[in-house]
């Protein structure tokens, strides 16, 4: 080792070296005094131990004093000087050594908490292979321009956010979404920086590089969340404002009564609200960091603490409990061919943006394309140009919110909608139509009626498959003692069938978007702490109304991340029980830490005032309590 690397080593491990030296001197000085009668030598070594261990502490104390803050390092310095002045060399060395050891361990453990997120950042590779001027060039990942094409080999990490322009592969998106299973990516799919290309080569057109990537944005959000004060933290900060002067007053009072300087200094040192101030932030930072690595963004300690009290989870049905991919499952014509019912309905619905309308129009295109190809090939089915031409435009078209559409085409009036719309328009519903509808709805399907010039000519049934995970998620929440509710715009019968299939406690059907908000307000008025799970865009108002709004599949949508209190990066329902349980565990963890801190301080203060606790033993317990709350909080990193 040359001189330079020794200095470097010393600088990197200064705290450890100082603590160890001070500890050795302390041990040596103490044994010398205990075993022999060289008292002067023993005292000198103990003073040396105090100076070695206390130099850095005193230096910071000096800065604390010049910046007019009263910190624990100032108090420890005062205590050590005081102890030496009155000849208690052993106490002085012990208090300095114990404090130094404690803060060394605290710094080390906190470093683990602080670097938990950096592992995520290190997922992004430093260099990227870019197609420039017709050749492949290796450049710094930060210098890739928007629109440039990046080539990623199988097994390589993706350096930028972008869309696939060539190639096909499975990509492990765990760093961004927390999903462990790789996701299939092909032409025009979005990929994120920091994810791993597992199978084939991919060419990606860059949409964001450097600090403008989804992963970087996530990490910035997470840090903001970790830094935001939780209600417990602000409460403790307010408490500390009065507590610290109170301890100082107590110390002065004790000195006035007993004339015992060491007693007063001991009060000051152990009266520091260390564990109380450190505990809650460590719990919250650990929990938010853990959640981020599992693809759950929590907005802050406040939201996390509130989420710990959730006792009712409301799910939006479409796209949350179900896959949100509605497909036509049955077409019935009443005196008219099914194909005509479909094409008439498709024309009426063509300009609507409702997900049921999309299903009908898609089905019509598929049927017609298949028909023009003689049904021999479906390769053309994807050709949207052909598809678009095949469904004619309506002459005019009106949406009746929550009910359906009214359109005109070829001189005919076409109404596509639910029973409520038919009742509004006094359309007679024959028994066989009602029977068909009832039978389909009983299977959890949604049915729309197709009415031409006032007569029902058919009905179209549509189905949105449940997510496989939905029943398990609902059961897991119920096991945790949480009520589950499904909110949907669907009719009563469909809702009942789906609710039974999922095993959900309760459902509310036929809700307009604004009704969902009032349902949530109703639960809150009953004293529930309500979480609402939705897609974050359509459900934004009810997500905002709920105590905790949870948005799903937020990776691509910044608005969802902005509005929700918690955002699941992946479309992964199974993260919900995890997120709710983590919040509850965090709330307990914070309470444990506060309890432990208050107990320690109470015991120590009583101990000091009744002379059972000395400066050194007080410091030992004080430092131990601080370490204990940090370690307890860090358990949440591995939850």
């Amino acid at each position: 080792m040359n001189k330079q690397s020794i200095t470097q080593y010393y600088r990197n491990h200064r705290k450890a070296i100082v603590t160890a030296t001070s500890g050795l001197l302390y041990g040596g000085g103490w044994s010398l005094g205990y075993l022999t009668s060289f008292e002067m030598a023993s005292a000198a070594i103990l003073v040396l131990a105090t100076v070695v261990g206390g130099y850095d502490i005193a230096k910071t104390a000096y800065h604390e004093v010049t910046n007019r803050t009263l910190g624990i390092k100032t108090l420890v310095t005062l205590a050590a000087i005081g102890a030496i002045v009155i000849g208690e060399y052993w106490e002085a060395a012990a208090v300095v050594f114990l404090f130094s050891l404690g803060s060394y361990l605290e710094g080390r453990t906190m470093r683990k908490t602080r670097t938990a997120l950096q592992e995520l950042l290190e997922m992004t590779p430093d260099t990227a292979t870019v197609r420039r001027d017709g050749t492949l060039q290796k450049v710094s990942a930060r210098d890739v321009e928007e629109g440039e094409v990046v080539v990623v080999k199988p097994g390589g990490k993706i350096p930028v956010d972008g869309t696939v322009v060539d190639g096909e592969s499975a990509v492990n998106q765990a760093p961004v979404t927390g999903e462990s299973a790789p996701v299939h990516k092909a032409d025009s799919d979005e990929v994120y920086a920091g994810t791993v290309n597992q199978e084939g080569a991919l060419e990606i057109r860059t949409t964001g590089a450097g600090s403008d990537t989804t992963l970087e944005r996530i990490i910035r959000r997470v840090e903001e969340a970790q830094e935001a004060q939780s209600p417990t933290e602000s409460l403790i900060d307010r408490f500390a404002k009065y507590y610290t002067p109170a301890v100082i007053a107590l110390a002065i009072g004790a000195y006035a009564v007993t004339q015992n300087a060491i007693l007063s200094l001991t009060l000051l040192v152990i009266g520091c609200p260390g564990a109380l101030v450190i505990g809650p932030p460590v719990s919250i930072v650990s929990a938010i960091g853990n959640a981020a690595r599992s693809g759950v963004l929590m907005k802050g300690g406040e939201h996390l603490e509130r989420a710990g009290k959730i006792d009712l989870v409301a799910f939006d049905k479409t796209g949350t409990l179900t896959k949100g991919e509605t497909t036509v499952s049955g077409i019935e014509g009443f005196g008219v061919a099914a194909a005509d019912v479909l094409s008439l309905a498709a024309t009426a619905e063509k300009k609507s943006e409702h997900h049921l309308a999309d299903a009908i129009v898609d089905m019509a295109r598929e049927r017609q394309t298949a028909a023009t190809d003689g049904g021999a090939t479906v390769a053309q089915a994807d050709d949207t140009d052909v598809g678009r031409r095949s469904v004619p435009d309506p002459d005019d078209f009106d949406v009746v919110a929550g009910k359906g559409v009214i359109a005109h085409a070829d001189g005919q009036e076409v109404v596509v909608g639910n029973r409520a719309l038919l009742d509004d328009r006094d359309v007679d519903v024959p028994d066989r139509v009602a029977d068909y509808v009832r039978e389909r709805e009983g299977r959890g399907e949604t049915v729309v009626h197709v009415v031409r010039d006032g007569d029902i000519i058919g009905a179209i049934a549509m189905r949105d498959e449940l997510r496989e995970a939905a029943p398990g998620v609902v059961a897991a929440l119920q096991d945790a003692g949480i009520e589950t509710v499904m909110l949907t715009g669907d009719n009563e019968r469909t809702a009942a069938a789906v609710a039974e299939e999922v095993g959900i406690d309760e459902y509310r059907a036929e809700l307009l978007p604004e009704d969902k908000q009032s349902v949530i307000e109703g639960y809150q008025a009953d004293g529930h702490v309500v979480a609402m799970v939705g897609d974050g865009i359509n459900d934004a108002p009810s997500l905002a109304t709920a105590d905790v709004g949870i948005a799903m599949g937020a990776a691509g949508t910044d608005t969802a991340i902005e509005t929700a209190d918690m955002a699941l990066m992946a479309d992964d329902l199974e993260r919900i029980p995890y997120a709710v349980k983590l919040s509850k565990a965090t709330r307990w963890n914070v309470l444990e830490n506060v309890g432990l801190a208050v107990l320690t301080v109470t015991v120590l203060l009583t101990g000091v005032l009744t002379s059972y606790v000395t400066l050194a033993s007080g410091m030992l317990v004080h430092e131990a309590s601080v370490l204990l709350v940090i370690l307890n909080g860090m358990r949440l990193l591995r939850y």
């Binding site: 705290k15 850095d56 230096k59 910071t60 800065h63 604390e64 910046n67 007019r68 803050t69 910190g71 624990i72 390092k73 803060s103 060394y104 605290e106 710094g107 906190m110 470093r111 908490t113 602080r114 670097t115 997120l117 840090e223 970790q226 830094e227 260390g274 101030v277 450190i278 932030p281 460590v282 919250i284 930072v285």
Partner: protein, 71 residues
């Protein structure tokens, strides 16, 4: 012109230490706003780049007994 720089300090060992560093940094010439977060170890400094010397920031943090890393 106003500019912003960040550091990461991984060895803060108590919340008061973070506030002491915050105060010390805000006394550096040209510094307009400082945020020091104990929990994440993140230090954010907003300064007037015609007055402040960015090298002084790291030095100030080191003087307080902590190790700044570029973020």
């Amino acid at each position: 012109m106003s500019d912003t720089t960040q550091f990461r300090v991984l060895d803060f060992d108590c919340p008061t230490c973070a506030s002491t560093v915050e105060r010390a940094l805000s006394n550096v010439d040209g510094v307009q706003h400082v945020e020091v977060h104990y929990a994440t170890g993140r230090v954010e400094i907003e300064y007037d780049d015609s007055v402040a010397d960015p090298d002084a920031f790291a030095e100030t943090i080191e003087n307080q007994g902590y190790t700044p890393q570029p973020a």
